[in-house]
Amino acid sequence: MRTLLVAVTVGLFSAAATAAQTPDSVRARARADSLARARADSIRLVRELEAMGRQDTTRSVLPGQVRPTGSTNPRLLPDFSAVGDLIGDFSPKGSTQEDGGRFSVREVELAVQAAVDPFFRGDVFLGISDVEKISIEQAFLTATALPWRLEARLGRFLMPVGKQNTTHRHDLHTVEHAYVVQRFLGEEGLKGTGVYLARVFAPFGFYQEVILTAVDRFGEAPEDLVAEESPNKKLSGLGYSARLRNYWDFSQSTNLELSASAMTGRREQPLTVSLGEVNAALARQSVVGLDLTYRWRPLQQGLYRSFLLQGELMKQFNHGKVLLPQGVDPADYAGPARDFTGAYLFARYQVTQRGFLGGRFDWVQDPEADGARLLAGTILHEFFPSEFSKLVVAFERRSLQGAGGTTRLLLQASFAVGPHKPHPF
């Protein structure tokens, strides 16, 4: 045994000594051989991985086996998407766009959407434009685990007032909102920051949904009007809305939605005089409306044929007590002193798999023109190269009572990149 141990020890030492005495050229050749082997191993590994990749596109699992599936989103990233909304305005008397441009990027919308935890989901939409720079279009938390089938949102959202207002502008069937929506709710529709509560029910066998909101104010704060106090100083000055949706399936192909909405709140209205910074009074404004949407889409030919008829009727009430600043005569109130009514009717027919023809008729007692009658007729063609891009050409003839007519020719191109959640039905 002692002899064996001595022999092994001597052997190890002699091997080490031999290695230590190996010339540099030999060591370099050995190193090169080692690198070549490693490179060959690496190439073989890459080829094996490529082969596995190729197998993935055919059948990678033997019958009876189930592919082990892992998470498709291991880093828990939210869905990021962007929507671009581009406008070309070729109206004969000059651009009719807010920025005066013949070509403009009207808006880029960035969306970040994901479940926050088992109880909430979060949706954030940022709007970027040359006119408004960057703004929070929507940012809301939705409670997804409430009892009694309730849905609650907290944050900023599109106000559920009327049908068109619940759709992002770039996703409308027309280039812009209908004039009644622009004049009564806002050019880009009406948003609110507050609480949203909804419940679906069917006591009569058809779909009904009640949506109630309480928001910080009715509409955006005007930049050039300052009232003595904020509209939301009292709770009665907040914005409140209610909407009742009713939906019926007539057949597999046809359905109808008939809904009613109401919104009220205090808003700043102009005065003809200024008291220091104060140049506005607070007055209650309410909007009530009815909307109707009829759809026809045969299930089997639904890729190629469909029809949509949509109309909304709204009335704006300007009533109630006007809160004038102290020392201001009621005669100095320059806000609306009457009620206004407006409506639109829109129809769209699908002519090919990717092409739609549509038309809209608008009639509004224009609050911006003291109730003068605004009439507009629009015809348009929508073309969808895919689900994710849209090209629209629209011709509009508009006339305002006492101010003559305007002809508009608009082009719109919009596109979506990234996983964008479908828009409401």
Binding site: G53, D56, T57, T58, R59, S60, V61, P63, Q65, V66, R67, T69, T72, A115, P118, T142, T144, A145, L146, W148, R149, L150, E151, L197, R199, V200, F201, P203, F206, Y207, E209, V210, L212, Y240, A242, L244, R245, Y247, D249, Q252, N255, E257, A262, S286, R297, L299, Q300, G302, L303, Y304, Q353, R354, S386, E387, F388, V417, K421, P422, P424, F425
Partner: protein, 303 residues
């Protein structure tokens, strides 16, 4: 106005009927194929409904509010997955406000999890590749092996939610498999006539069917998934069909047959409109009838 809002809310809450006591599991499926297999496994212990119809393109279903009512009280929502329903399902699930059928809920059943998926793209994927499914081809129900996997998944899920019915679900699944095995023995003669024969398909929805029958898809009417045929693509496809001697164009009933007829006229091929799902044609009332019809019709066309 605030009084009006309060009254409206109270009225809405009060009008909601209370839930009746029912023993049946309420199962909603996104497609008729899942519906039929669920029905055969669950029997009378489940009450099943489906959202899309068999003659409808399942990619493009309108998220109608009436579907929300069905999902509101569902115990199970079983769907194909792999993004087949991505364009409409999120709206319905959100609208239903039913925690059971949300992701992570006990009734959220992504059937694709039980399926060995094919056509999983490797490398980078973007929409320049068309309406590509990054998680793989979702049209897996047209392979009977996958139908058995679906039946086993339903047996497990229904047994988990309704342990008292476990033996019923097991018996239902076994009966389904036995009937399918018996049918498959009959289909062997058809499959032998199909195997290796060149065909053109409209969409990638026939890939699993091709795996099962051995039919050789030499081209697609769509240049890319979801993209309608262009003249230049059709010109190339006609050359491919002439070169490969493909004599059958397989398509679903919801696509425009005129384009397929044009290609068929140029190549002397036959256009075969096959239902891709249960209910896709009158009389195709269950999964066995669907597969029987598709396999036998294709075999006859390829004769």
């Amino acid at each position: 106005m605030s009084r009006f809002l309060s009254l409206a809310f109270v009225a809405a809450a009060g009008l909601t009927p209370s839930r009746p006591a029912e023993a049946q599991l309420r199962v909603v499926t996104s497609t008729t194929d899942l519906y039929d297999i669920a029905r055969q496994v669950g029997g009378a212990r489940i009450k099943a409904v489906h959202i899309s119809e068999g003659y409808q393109d399942p990619h493009f279903v309108e998220a109608k509010p009436s579907f929300i009512l069905q999902l509101q009280r569902a115990d199970v929502f079983a769907f194909v997955g792999l993004d087949l329903e991505i364009g409409w399902m999120p709206l319905l699930i959100d609208g239903a406000r039913n925690p059971k059928i949300r992701m992570g809920g006990s009734g959220y059943v992504d059937v694709s999890k039980a399926i060995p998926v094919i056509d999983v793209p490797s490398g980078n994927v973007d929409r320049s590749q068309g309406d590509v499914h990054p998680l793989g081809n979702p049209h897996y129900w047209l392979d009977p092996d996958n139908a058995k996997r679906i039946a086993r998944l339903f047996e497990d899920k229904f047994s988990q939610l309704d342990p008292a019915g476990e033996s019923t679900y097991e018996a239902g699944r076994k009966a389904f498999e036995s009937k399918l095995d018996a049918n498959e023995r009959q289909w062997k003669t058809y499959v032998a006539k199909i195997k290796g024969k060149p065909v053109v398909a409209w969409h990638t929805s026939w890939r699993y069917f091709a795996e099962y029958t051995g039919m050789n898809i030499v081209g697609f009417m769509e240049p890319k998934p979801g993209v309608p045929p262009s003249p230049s693509h059709l010109a190339g496809l006609i050359l491919t069909m002439q070169r490969t001697h493909a004599k059958v164009i397989v398509m679903e009933p919801f696509y425009d047959k005129k384009t397929a007829d044009f290609v068929a006229k140029k190549t002397g091929a036959t256009v075969l409109v096959l239902p891709p799902s249960v209910g896709g044609k009158k009389g195709i009332d269950d999964y066995f009838a669907l597969m029987q019809y598709d396999i036998s019709q294709l075999a006859a066309a390829l004769q």
